[in-house]
Symmetry: C2
Subunit: 342 residues, 2 copies
């Protein structure tokens, strides 16, 4: 595999390979019944997390994940130079209120459920350039706060259509440092906003798949790699239907990702009730990536992962005004030292 | 003036001094009646801007400002490597929908009315490090879309209290490039979230002033500069009352900014009606900085400006749940080549 940088790619390269030295994850009971259950740092018994509102519970999960990541990295809070975070709530209040408690310089980001990879990208860019030494990238979501903000009050008991996904209750954070052990961030591909005209707000997977395909194809072309070069190509939260669309779109462009593609939304739940297509929400990829996937990288079972979280950039106002759903996907390439040498 | 970097400052330094090569600004009729009127690129006759909704008008203003900045820089759209943008609407839809039309790699940011300086900081950091060559930083706001999202429907005719500010209808963008003429970005101070417990959502100036003071004082200490080293210390949108609080807070910490401090919100309007404390909104500092202030830097009347836009990170939900208003302010130091040499 040879890395060459084309004239006008969308990929930025991190020569100094900033390391993900530690992670922290929190997830709700429904989430912990699935694959991530054995990997998360804190499994909640109750998704209220001792708080009086869903929004406060969401914020507390995010704080908890950030705290846990900093502790796992063995860092004092004062040595974290910047926190990159955002979430799905209006005005990213979970991230802002969490940042209030940490007193760490804070850079708010928003790209819906692509926030985890955007945060990692920006944090890695700042650390690699030597501006800062230690950064934290974090995001999360909560099923109940998302439902009542984006869809219907839970009390209404609205029936969910079969193409719907289930917003993950969980949060994930990672510490990105100039020094230390752990998997490194080799490069990142900045996504473009892609809109195929999907207007069904219950069909996020179909809306987001084209944006994810755009970024993956751009990444393969920029870095002169192909799907086989990765142990895992991890998309954000396309769910079962969206994942199938993604594979088709990539295949049309000449890239067959079917062998090593995994979608966070597709694997997070034991789909037994009404999650239908699987998980979604910023917390979905945040939990899967920072628990299960990072654990695989740490153990050496994976050597190179392409992580492309996906976000739907709609609001209730934009949908109400007849707009379709613009989407985005940012990708980061994570690899162990063995892979980097190979 | 000697620049020295303390062990754990919050300031990042741009050795290669990325340049602001061009700007683009759009403002509504009320805004253009004031000081910025003669400097903006496009003065609107009507704040609907030919659109059917306020939100669509806001998005169109942002698109127009970005387009104008790229054109003024003499760049082809395809040569812009990244767009950093955000706005006040839920899920930053103005920025996301504007980005959809440009097909430029997009990084969504959110720090309320501090979005202009956060965007400039991140764009400058990426350009300075050599990741990208040309970036656009942009934001905007609209009085009517902000009123109905954050406060009351306009049709209700609610009386405004005397401590209130008026959300600016306008947008501003700038092109930040590795090469080219124009004022350079020397460094940036990343803000922390500061909350003094203000709960009055009509008194944003008082809520934001402590965050601005925190960042300014941190900046002076990190860079070993004092207020006299700047031709202008430009805060975001504190308004008249907030500006007085800012000066007091800085003075308490040993920095007298009273001689060269100017607040975008305080100067943007001819306060004659019910704007009371002046302007606010992400568009306020975006328009003032990218039109009037950049023009002063271009003409050589200013040589060094410290621009600290300020943001209140509340949402209607956080206020409704009894939370106070956490605030943030990011600062960027802009200077002409003469100042840099001096």
């Amino acid at each position: 595999m040879q890395l060459k940088k084309p004239a006008r790619g969308h990929t930025i390269y991190f020569k100094n390979m900033p390391k993900i030295t530690a992670t922290g994850t929190v997830a709700g009971p429904k989430e912990c019944a699935g694959i991530v259950g054995q990997y998360v740092d804190r499994a909640l018994e109750n998704d209220m997390f001792g708080e009086s509102t869903f929004e406060k519970a969401e914020c507390k999960m995010l704080r908890c994940a950030i705290d846990c990541a900093i502790e796992n990295a063995g860092l004092a809070r004062g040595r974290v130079d910047a926190l990159f975070s955002g979430d799905l709530l209006n005005q990213i209040i979970s991230a802002s209120f969490a940042a209030r408690d940490f007193e760490i310089p804070f850079l708010g980001v928003y790209s819906a459920c692509s926030t985890m990879s955007e945060s990692i990208m920006l944090a890695a860019a700042m650390v690699n350039a030597g501006y800062i030494k230690n950064a934290v990238a974090a995001t999360g979501s909560h099923f109940a706060s998302a439902e009542r903000q984006y869809r219907y009050p839970l009390e209404q008991g609205t029936t969910r259509p079969p193409q719907a996904q289930w917003t993950v209750t969980g949060a994930g954070a990672c510490v990105i440092s100039a020094r230390g052990g752990g998997a490194g961030i080799a490069n990142a591909t900045i996504g473009r906003v892609v809109d195929y005209g999907v207007t069904d707000v219950n069909n996020m997977g179909a809306a987001m798949a084209p944006a994810c395909a755009d970024t993956l194809v751009q990444h393969f072309r920029d870095t002169d790699t192909s799907p086989e070069d990765y142990d895992m190509i991890l998309s954000g939260d396309l769910g079962a239907l969206g994942s199938r669309i993604l594979k088709d779109l990539c295949w049309e462009k000449g890239f067959d990702i079917s062998c090593n593609h995994v979608d966070c939304g597709e694997i997070i739940y034991k789909v037994i009730e009404d999650e239908f297509q699987g998980g979604s929400g910023a917390g979905c990829s945040a939990v899967v990536f920072n628990s299960y996937v990072m654990s695989m990288l740490k153990s050496g079972l994976f050597r190179r992962v392409l992580f492309a979280a996906t976000g739907a950039l709609l609001s209730t106002v934009s949908s109400g005004q007849g707009e379709s759903i613009p989407c985005i996907s940012h990708a980061v390439q994570i690899e162990t030292q063995t892979a980097a040498r190979g």
